[in-house]
């Protein structure tokens, strides 16, 4: 049975999962969830994702939510096809540890701040609410500090976990693109190593396939 992705076409977390499905050549059926109608809060949805969020998958009866968990599951289950090594093999304990270090950093040092910016400058504005400029400034200040560290890391290695591309790099893309949409692309563009790394990620066919919205591939 084809894997089903219950998601919203432009939700950052949904895009995160769709990209991994493309990277590992996993055909999937996209079932759109209407966020404006709050479909994700209805009983039919919360039965599968009790936090009332998108996305979740149904892989032949195996239901999973949390985009980063889903991405990991796909990368492990389909490790033999498409892009190799998106998670280092568990037999290489040090490589796996360095991946986990980068993956933890992605959320704690990047998403935490980038998500605040996206929420204040994109999401709230779309719904007609005022932007809290103080929150935005605080997040920008934090990102400046964190991306300076990224600049140093990426001076010494091509990807955040080491020499190879992993999920830790890919997971930055959805909110990274939202920084550009918020008019703050300079946070990335002003740092040569970060810009090179990020632009290479954006050029990947897996991102090009979904950047304007997720569609079924099965």
């Amino acid at each position: 049975m084809v894997l089903k992705l219950y998601a919203a076409p432009q939700s950052t977390a949904s895009l995160r999962v769709a990209q991994v499905l493309h990277e590992n050549n996993v055909p999937f059926e996209f079932i759109p969830i209407d966020l404006r109608a709050k479909e994700q809060k209805q009983a039919q949805h919360t039965e599968k994702n009790p936090f009332g969020q998108v996305p979740y998958i149904d892989d032949d009866g195996f239901v999973l939510y949390e985009s980063r968990a889903i991405g990991r599951y796909i990368a492990l289950k389909y490790a033999g096809q498409g892009t190799a090594g998106l998670i280092p093999d568990q037999s290489d304990i040090k490589a796996l540890a360095l991946f986990e270090q980068a993956a933890s950093s992605e959320f704690a040092n990047f998403e935490v701040h980038a998500a605040k910016i996206a929420y204040e400058k994109l999401f709230k504005v779309r719904l007609g609410f005022p932007t809290n400029e103080e929150v935005v400034k605080g997040a920008i200040d934090q990102l400046n500090v964190k991306l300076d560290v990224y600049e140093g890391i990426l001076a010494k290695q091509g990807y955040l976990a080491g020499r190879e591309l992993t999920l830790a790099d890919l997971y930055h893309i959805p909110f990274g693109t939202r920084l550009y949409r918020a008019g703050l692309g300079d946070l990335i563009d002003s740092r040569p190593n970060v810009a090179k790394w990020f632009n290479a990620l954006l050029a990947r066919p897996s991102w090009v396939a979904i950047k304007d919205g997720i569609t079924s591939t099965a």
Binding site: E66, I93, K94, I153
Partner: protein, 245 residues
């Protein structure tokens, strides 16, 4: 060479690593990094932890930072020691359930509990002024998330659910002499604790210091959290991480 844990004794993230080391029975030397003297921002320190934070470990020359990454590394390296299956990576589905719970801890618990504790406990320590309204907002959001936790924990003992290492029981043979009760024993799998549960402790415990009893307010969350707090690994680090060698 004994593993070295560089951190601050009562730093939540340092405690998270200390707990994992003790659960796995891994001896370690605790090296104090004096945050108030700026020791985590020196050029030497930044060579090891470029974000200038605590903790990091030095395991015979291999350095690693991010407390959850360190705990995962220890759980995997010492899989055969101490508390079993803290990082259930043997089976794709068990691992996925673990990752789901681990992601929930970061995005749905730490995101609110961490900031709430910072507002009331750490901010004043750094010379800032607590904002009660910000705190209450965060607790309201956390409470909504813990309502979901309560539903999940009504059906399973720990947050990752079924991650057992036991193989699936053989399908019962029609001529099997096993009684129905034995068959039920074969198919029942233990509900195992994982890192996803333990990661909640440091900030979870500080919520009451911050002024919220939210961890006691929902019956299954209370049962689960009281159980976590009683573990020897938490008792050993709750007043500050110390060397075990």
């Amino acid at each position: 060479m004994v593993l070295k844990l560089y951190g601050w004794p009562k730093s939540t993230c340092t405690q998270r690593v200390g707990m994992a080391l003790i659960e796995k029975g891994v001896p370690f030397e605790f090296v104090m990094v004096d945050l108030f003297k700026g020791e985590s921002k020196t050029p030497e320190y930044l060579q090891k932890q470029p974000f200038g934070q605590v903790p990091y470990i030095d395991d015979d020359g291999f350095t690693l930072y991010e407390s959850r990454a360190i705990a995962r590394y220890i759980a995997e390296k010492y899989a055969a020691k101490g508390t079993p299956n803290l990082l259930p990576i043997a089976d794709v589905r068990a691992r996925a359930r673990f990752e789901q719970a681990a992601s929930v801890e970061v995005a749905d618990f730490d995101a609110f509990a961490g900031r709430a504790v910072f507002e009331m406990v750490f901010k004043p320590m750094m010379g800032g002024k607590s904002d009660e309204a910000v705190f209450q907002d965060l607790i309201t959001s956390l409470s909504a998330k813990l309502d979901v936790y309560d539903k999940i924990l009504a059906k399973q003992k720990y947050m990752a659910g079924n991650v057992s290492l036991l193989p699936l029981p053989l399908p019962s043979h029609p001529s099997s002499s096993y009684s129905t009760r034995n068959k039920r024993k074969l198919t029942k799998r233990p509900q195992e604790i994982t890192l996803a549960d333990l990661f909640h402790l440091p900030y979870g415990v500080l919520l009451s210091t911050a002024g919220s009893d939210i961890m006691q307010a929902k019956p299954n969350v209370k049962r689960w959290f009281d159980d976590l707090q009683s573990r020897p690994s938490w008792q050993a680090v709750k007043d500050g991480v110390k060397s075990t060698v």
